[in-house]
Amino acid sequence: MNILILGATSAIARVTALEFAAQGHNLYLASRDSDELARITTDLSSRFPINVQYGQFDAEDFTAHAAFLLRVIAAMEKLDGVLLAFGDMKDAQPVEIINRNLTGAISILGYCSEYFIAQKSGFIIGISSVAGDRGRRKNKIYGAAKAGLSTYLQALRNELFFHGIRVITIKPGFVDTPMTYGLKGMFCVAKPEYVGKRIVASINKLSDIVYLPWFWRYIMLIIKWMPEWLFKRVRW
C-alpha cells in the first residue's frame, strides 16, 4: 500500500513509519522540517526495499493543503491511506496550537476524504490523545484541540463508513516522547515502538477507537465518569 504520513518527524510517527516499512508499504513522509525528513527517508529506504518520498507540509498553511495533496498523489500515483501524526503542545501560542492540531488536521483530512471517496477505498488513522477525553486545568488548549480532533474523526468515520473507508482514532496515553520526557507525574509510560506496532496493527482490527496501551480505555472510563462537581475539585 501507499501511505501518507503527516507529521512524519514526530517520535511516534517515526516508529510507525518503520513498522509500515517493515511490512513493505511505500511511504510519503510530510512535515515542516525537510532536513529531518530527508534523514528519515534515507534511513527507511536503506533499511527496507520500499519506495519512500518526502515533501514539506505545514499544518497551519491551510491554503497550500489542496496543492500539497495533489503533489503527493502525483508522486505516489495512488494513495491507500493516511496517518495523521502531527500535533504538539509546546512553544506555541494557544491559537497556533488550535490551528495546527485541530484546524490544520480538519483541513488536510477534508481533502484526503474527498480523494478516498472518489477512489472508493482508503483509510485514515488519526492520532488524537487521551487528553481530549476530559479537560484538565494544566492542558487546556491541547486538550481542547484533541477533543475537537476526536469528535471530528468520529464524525468523519460516520460519514465515510458508507463509502467503505475506515477512520481509526488512536488515543495514546503517556508515551516516551519529547512531549513527556522529563515531566513529573508520568506513570505507565509506553515505548514508542510498542505504540507504532499497535497503530499499524489497528488496520487489521475492528476497533474504531484504539487506546494505547489498552488499559487507558479503563483509566479514561473512570475519569470520564467522575461527576463535574468532583472532577473540578481534584488538582491534576
Binding site: 517520535a11 529531518e36 534523514r39 534511513d43 536503506s46 520526557y181 522529563g182
Partner: protein
C-alpha cells in the same frame, strides 16, 4: 531541552550515579547540547563509569539512529552514532555484509564502539574497530561539526577513536564492512586440559581461524586448573551449509529472549554453583567438535538473556579485563587466577583471547598479547583491594586494563598503562580547550 535528573547505572549495576539526562530526537539538537559540559551515552553497555557524569549532563544517543547511507555494492554503511549494532546487522546481513569487528553484544551503539575502540574475537587478524572506520563527524564544544578521517583532521580522528567520548560527541560515522556468503558460522570446539595447553593452542596458527576465543574453567582445581574450550570459527561459505540453509543463506532470526525480571539473591552464584556450572559447561561443550551456528548465537549468546547482570544480585559483579604481553602471558595469567582462587574468589565466567597488532590510536586498549576477561560476583568489599593488587601485577608485566570496563583504576596506574595519554591529552586540549567533554571516568583518571 528537557532534562531528567535520574540515577544512571553501569551495565553491571555496580556503579550508579545521579546525572542530568537529555535525549535528543534529531541530529541538529546535538549542536545546542554541547554548549553545556556533557558526555555522550549509547545503550549503557559500559561496565564502568565511562558513560556516567555525576551531577553533570549526559546525552542519550539512542534516538539518533538513522542510517544515512548504505552502499550495498562496496559494503560501506554510514549512520548516526546512536544506532545499535543489532540495527546495523539487520540492514547489512540480508545484503551480504557483516561488521568487520563485533563485541560480544549487539546492543551497543556505533558511537560507543568507536569511543571505546572495541575489539572482537578476530582481533589477531583484523584489529580493533578503529581500522574499519572511514570517517567520523564529531560535534565539538562550540557546536561545529568536524569531519575527520586518517587524512583529514587526523589528530582529532585518532584521539576520538578510543577517546571515551572526551573530544566531542561522535555524531555520525562511516564504516567499511566485510562480505558475507551466509549468516551462519562454522564453529569448532577444542577441549584443553590445563591453562598451559590452553595458551599454546590459542596462539597456535595451525589451530587458528577467523575468530577464536577460549572459555576458561577457572573453578576447576589442581592439574585441571585453567582447562578450556577453545572456540574457533569462520563465516560459513555456501558450500558448508546444509541444504535447507542454502535456500536462504542470509536469513535473519528473531532472537528468542528471556528476561531476568528482578535481581537474584546475591548468594545464588556462590562458589559451589560456579564450580558445578563450569564443570557442566566444559563437559557439554567439549563433545561438540564441529558444527554450524547462526551468527547471533555464536557472537551474542548473552543477548538471549535480557538484563542478565541481575543474575549476580543487587551488588552486581565486576568484569575485569586486562591484556598481557605474549612473553609473560602464561605466568602472569596464572598468578592472577591463583591470587583470586587463594582469596576464595571465583570468576563465574572467564575468557581468554589473542590480540594482534596494536592500533594507531593513543588510548586504544589492545596490544599484542593475550587478553583475560573475568566476571567476578561482588561478595564483599575485599574484592576491590584484591583487584588493586591484580592491577599491580598487570602494571609490573607491562599490561593494561580496558577503560570501557573499568570503574576503579587509579590515575597513577593509568599513566603507566597508557603511556601515550600525554599525546592524547594535548590533542584533547586543542579541540576541547574548556574541557567541555568530561565523564566520571575522566575525572577519576585525571584526564
Amino acid at each position: 531541552m528537557p532534562t531528567l535528573t535520574t540515577p544512571l547505572a553501569s551495565f553491571n549495576q555496580s556503579t550508579t550515579q545521579n546525572c542530568n539526562v537529555v535525549r535528543p530526537e534529531r541530529y541538529r539538537e546535538l549542536l545546542d547540547i554541547v554548549k553545556k559540559p556533557v558526555i555522550a551515552r549509547g545503550l549503557g553497555g559500559s561496565y564502568g563509569d565511562a558513560a556516567l557524569n555525576i551531577d553533570g549532563q549526559v546525552v542519550l544517543m539512542e534516538r539518533l539512529n538513522r542510517v544515512l547511507e548504505f552502499d550495498r555494492i562496496n559494503g560501506v554503511i554510514t549512520a548516526e552514532a546512536g544506532i545499535s549494532l543489532a540495527d546495523i546487522l539487520a540492514v547489512i546481513v540480508p545484503a551480504g555484509w557483516f561488521l568487520p569487528v563485533t563485541p560480544g553484544t549487539q546492543y551497543v551503539t556505533l558511537g560507543g564502539c568507536i569511543a571505546a575502540d572495541v575489539h572482537g574475537k578476530n582481533h589477531h587478524r583484523t584489529g580493533s574497530f578503529e581500522q574499519h572506520v572511514l570517517w567520523l563527524d564529531v560535534v565539538i564544544h562550540d557546536g561545529e561539526i568536524i569531519r575527520c578521517s586518517s587524512t583529514q583532521n587526523s589528530d582529532l580522528f585518532w584521539a576520538t577513536i578510543a577517546g571515551m567520548g572526551l573530544t566531542g560527541i561522535i555524531g555520525s560515522a562511516s564504516i567499511k564492512l566485510i562480505p558475507l556468503e551466509s549468516a551462519y558460522m562454522s564453529v569448532k570446539h577444542l577441549a584443553t586440559n590445563n591453562l598451559q595447553q590452553t595458551i599454546i593452542y590459542l596462539t597456535d596458527e595451525l589451530q587458528d581461524d577467523q575468530y577464536s576465543v577460549a572459555w576458561v574453567d577457572t573453578a576447576s582445581e589442581n592439574n585441571k586448573f585453567g582447562r578450556s574450550i577453545i572456540m574457533t570459527a569462520h563465516h560459513a561459505t555456501l558450500e558448508e551449509l546444509a541444504p535447507e540453509q542454502k535456500s536462504k543463506p542470509l536469513k535473519l532470526f528473531k532472537q528468542q529472549q528471556i528476561t531476568i525480571p528482578y535481581n537474584c539473591p546475591g548468594w545464588l552464584l556462590n562458589k559451589k554453583v560456579i564450580q558445578l556450572y563450569n564443570n557442566y559447561y566444559y563437559r557439554t561443550q567439549s563433545h561438540k567438535e564441529k558444527f554450524l551456528s547462526h551468527y547471533q548465537d555464536y557472537f551474542y549468546p548473552l543477548d538471549k538473556i535480557k538484563h542478565w547482570p541481575r543474575l549476580y544480585g543487587k551488588r552486581g559483579f565486576i568484569q575485569y579485563q586486562c591484556v598481557l604481553p605474549h612473553n609473560v602471558a602464561l605466568a602472569s595469567i596464572q598468578t592472577i587466577l591463583d591470587h583470586l582462587q587463594k582469596n576464595n574468589y571465583s570468576p563465574f565466567l572467564t575468557v581468554l583471547k589473542q590480540f594482534g597488532k596494536a592500533s594507531n590510536t593513543p588510548l586504544s586498549f589492545p596490544m599484542p598479547g593475550l587478553t583475560l576477561a573475568m566476571d567476578i560476583p561482588i561478595k564483599d568489599n575485599k574484592l576491590f583491594s584484591l583487584l588493586d593488587e591484580i592491577d599491580e601485577i598487570v602494571v609490573q608485566n607491562e599490561g593494561r586494563i580496558y577503560l570501557a570496563k573499568d570503574a576503579r583504576l587509579t590515575p597513577a596506574r593509568f599513566q603507566i598503562m597508557y603511556p601515550r595519554y600525554v599525546e592524547w591529552l594535548a590533542i584533547k586540549k586543542k579541540w576541547d580547550p574548556k574541557n567541555n567533554f568530561s565523564s566520571s571516568l575522566a575525572r577519576r583518571l585525571g584526564i
